[in-house]
Amino acid sequence: MRRLVAALALAALLTAGCGKEGSPPVKGPQPDQLPVYPVATGFQLPDSPTWTAAKRRGHLVVGAKEDQPYLGQKDPATGTYSGFDIEIAKMMSASLGFDPKTISFRTIASANRETALQNGQIDYYVGTYTINDLRKKQVGFAGPYYIAGQSLLVRKDEDDINGPQDLAGKRVCSAAGSTPLQRIQRDYPKAVAVAYDTYSICVDNLLSLQVDAVTTDDTILMGFAAKAPDALKVVGAPFSKEPYGIGVSRGDTALRFALDDALAAHEKNGDWKRAYDATLGLSGVPAPQPPPVDRYPAG
């Protein structure tokens, strides 16, 4: 045991102190400046147990994704999160009276989102969370704040694929077990579906010519395209509708309505568009109209 510790200490000493400072440079276009959201002063929401608990804590705990560039991505070295979803989370925080700088982000895997909200591990969740009736039975949804749709990512020099109708005989990649993959297999059986564990591997294989297209929500694809604008592009009109919502605890209707109000306000005053332009907009796709908020009743 002592030998182990000694060896580890040695390894630590060797690796530390001989590196370049900071973290590796980030690729792709960089936003000039991220929008700043003024923090609401004197905001009160006593009906919301989540909000009161956060007030006592002094900051919000927000669930997010960590592997989707320009949507929700964690910088491996610095641990900071960035992307469109993160901007939405920050807007909400400002409107709820908490300085966005104080948000503590948590990576929550897709499979654990409902659990994390139900047991109060996080206050709300912003991360390509599609609103559907099955999930509404378990959690509440503020929003939608964006309507995504399944689309296709191809190499820049690809001219043959302009939509799902062109996929016959092509190798199409998506995440194993995901809805987009099932849709391709069901609706376009002539395409050769390839499944990998994560989208980044699909993109890797797309770049190395192993597959001809990657398919999932256009937002995720746009994020990848924005990272490598010289090599990748998103093609075709979206062929499904995925309204993204902010997940909250199902019982906390007060918080849900407050977030709905906040979303509507930020969409109106232009924050929403500024946030889009600074993140997903870097892929070259102009900002769409934000979708109307669906303020469904409690119960």
Binding site: A111, E114, T115, L134, K137, Q138, A176, G177, V194, A195, Y196, D197, T198, I201, D204, N205, S208, Q210
Partner: protein, 214 residues
Amino acid sequence: MDVLIDNLSLYGEGLLGTIELTVYASLLALVLGFVMASFRVAPVGSLRVFGTVWVTVLRNTPLTLLFFAVMLGLPRFGIVLPFQLFAVLALGCYTSAFICEVLRSGINTVPTGQGEAARSLGMTFAQTLGDVVLPQAFRSVIPPVGSTLIALAKNSAIAGSFSVTELLGTYKPLNEMGYSIIWSFVWIAVGYLLVTLSISAVFNVLEKRWGIAR
């Protein structure tokens, strides 16, 4: 109870997935383990080194890391296989290292006199090993091989997290459908007990027929 009856096909698929993984990976592990064990006792130095490196590295690799490397790494070289095959490969190779050690210690339990007698009859290495030593070693390795394969069946649960259909993975759809998580897990546990108990039953029969107490 409802969870099981409502989702019998889902559980069935999961159980079948686990059984398939276990059977295929066991076969691979037994073959590879046998090959490596014969490498390790062979008179050719480089084969012995290869066998030793194989066993040492694999026994000290976390299985999750091996899955990670095989499932996500091999596709980078253009080796695109179904996930289940990748899982069988990872599980089989990992377990082969343990099978190899079981077989080798089984060979060690055969009295030296047996090998010496075989040699004095003029048998070659292959004959000594194949006709005299291994048949005897086989008897004493039945229980440890059984334990190793039970461990393999339990290890197959990791595959569920790498997009392979198997028993543990069934909790996800059940959870999404809103069934009681506790009960889903109870039935998953029962499923694993079924698999491990069947393996140990098979090996009990094998041992009764061919095993010997030494």
